[in-house]
């Protein structure tokens, strides 16, 4: 029972981080029709910048901020240079975002070397606390709280602001929202920025959970993000949250039972969804 609680807590934490990365990817795809293959690299960038900033300053929130800024900054740059020229060109988008993926991987290896580096849990969030006889990691709980806060914030933006309304409408019917007078390019840029910043934030927080980070993070988490987005549904915020948490939980349970089965199981789930209902659990049909 104790183990179950710990696994669940860890699973939720991982799930929220996956949700952070996947929701940006999902909405970017739903609204802009772009599958950003560089997203995993942004996650990784966030983890590296944040870890480095924490080791340099000792201030965790500053470190998180640094991660967000790095991710958002790269996002803005990418949107201007390699995304805009290929709007509407599906093959071109895949190619350029793959290129960005390659470049970001190399930049990280260039700045921090190709091997893993340690990512310590920040002071103040270390250790466990005991609740009713159970020992729960403080840091994981922190992640869960952050995750909930961010989910609430995104939900607020999506449902209570004009930008959110425009995004939701645009995901359903990109052409109509332009007819109605929305400067879709500006909305794209904003959404891309938010999506990449969010992915970087997720990455910034995952370092201490893993204990160490390395260039493998980009491919591994890109794959997980794809799995979450496919299962949750392209363009669906709720979908990415539920699928993210689901995958996070499944991963943790399965890893404890029989580690090698974890990733194959994820991939199996993704394949099943792709073959049965490609739009995912909550996906919108449409997005013309």
């Amino acid at each position: 029972m104790k183990v179950l609680v710990i696994l669940t807590v860890n699973g939720l934490a991982t799930g929220f981080l996956l949700f952070m990365m996947a929701s940006g990817l999902s909405i970017i795809f739903g609204l802009m029709g772009i599958m950003n293959f560089a997203h995993g690299a942004l996650f990784m960038l966030g983890s590296y910048v944040s870890t480095w900033a924490y080791l340099a300053t000792g201030n965790f929130f500053l470190a998180l901020l640094a991660g967000i800024v790095a991710g958002g900054g790269v996002g803005i740059l990418a949107e201007r240079t390699i995304i805009r020229p290929v709007y509407g060109n599906h093959l071109g988008q895949i190619l350029t975002t793959l290129g960005a993926f390659m470049i970001l991987n190399e930049i990280v290896k260039m700045l921090w070397g190709p091997n893993v580096i340690p990512s310590p849990v920040p002071g103040g969030l270390e250790g466990d606390f005991t609740v009713g006889g159970l020992t729960i990691s403080r840091y994981q709980v922190f992640i869960i709280f952050m995750g909930i806060a961010i989910a609430a914030a995104v939900h607020f933006v999506l449902n209570r602001t004009r930008l959110g309304m425009v995004v939701r409408a645009g995901v359903e019917n990109r052409e109509m929202i332009q007819i109605l007078g929305v400067n879709i390019r500006r909305v794209f840029a904003m959404v891309f920025l938010l999506g990449t910043a969010l992915a970087a934030l997720g990455g910034a927080m995952i370092g201490p959970t893993l204990g160490q980070i390395g260039p493998f993070v980009s491919t591994q988490y890109l794959l997980l993000a794809f799995i979450v987005v496919v299962i949750g549904g392209m363009g669906s915020f709720i979908g990415s949250m539920i699928a993210g948490i689901l995958i996070g939980l499944i991963n943790n349970y399965v890893v404890w039972l029989y580690p090698p089965a974890a990733m194959p199981l994820n991939i199996l789930l993704m394949s099943a969804i792709l073959l049965i209902k490609p739009t995912g659990l909550f996906g919108a049909e449409g997005g013309r």
Partner: protein, 336 residues
Amino acid sequence: MGRAVFRFPSINSVAILIFICLVALPLVTSSRSAYSMVNMIAISGVFALSYNILVGYTGILSLGHALFFGSGAYIVGVTMRHLGPSLPMLGLAIFGALIFAVAAGLFAGYLTLRLKAIYYAMITLALAELFVIFAEKWRDLTGGWDGLNYKVPVAIREPVAVYYLVLAFTAAVVLFTRRFLDSPTGKVIVAIRENEQRASSLGFNVFRYKLIASVVAGVISSLSGVVFALESRFVMTGILSVEKTLEALLMTIIGGMGTLFGPLIGAAVVHLTGDWLAEFAKIHPIFERWPILFGFVYIFIVLAVPGGVMTGWNRLAQWVATKSGPGKPTKGDRNE
């Protein structure tokens, strides 16, 4: 009085010339590193060529193509290691690799029927990573993260022997691919890339042709993996990974997608430039990450010069043809 006509050399004649030079190389030098460089270029080039059949000619973007390459290599490596480095065993391994390639190729081809392009890219990414994980976890068989080394049959131990094997293999693949692409089947495949709907409405069973392309690309890739395994005598998980597939993509784009020699040119560019830049790494560590340069070149080509090197060549050929007056039109490499 006739005008002297300068005919821009056709790509075929250049290719033949280069091939002859390569065949003669061992007469000029016995430098292992020279052989090694040619081998690497040839093997990557063939791998990229097989990838090009999928992406450049049929229009299928797979991110798991390294699976064929890696599986071909691993099957040979594992067999050589665990069952002994004899020719019969090698034959068995190659046979096994081919069976696997055909089966996987059929499966991959089947998937293109069910999935749209983006989903196909995603699922091939996932499957490739899956195999990387298998290779890592199955340490007893595959050597896991550290990789596996093994001996090869005596007949192929000499560097010169390996060298000629690689050259022969490359030539065979190029000739085969040319025949394949010029055949009616090949032409349909190109038509599918251009406009799938139209091809379908013209009565072609698009699915069947995609299946054929998948299998052909898979088998060639697998064989290049086999040759790689024989040349390097060492396999590791990296050869199954997404990064390996991206390497093929890079070479194909640089050399020219959808052209026969493009991938080989791309392979040459990448390896030679990489080697050259790696020299600089001795001066300053920043050059160790020379792949980053290729990332930029790659993006530049995708955005600005979609045709890669081959387009440049063809344009140059056309320009020269117009300048040198009436004469036979240049026989550029056939490309779409």
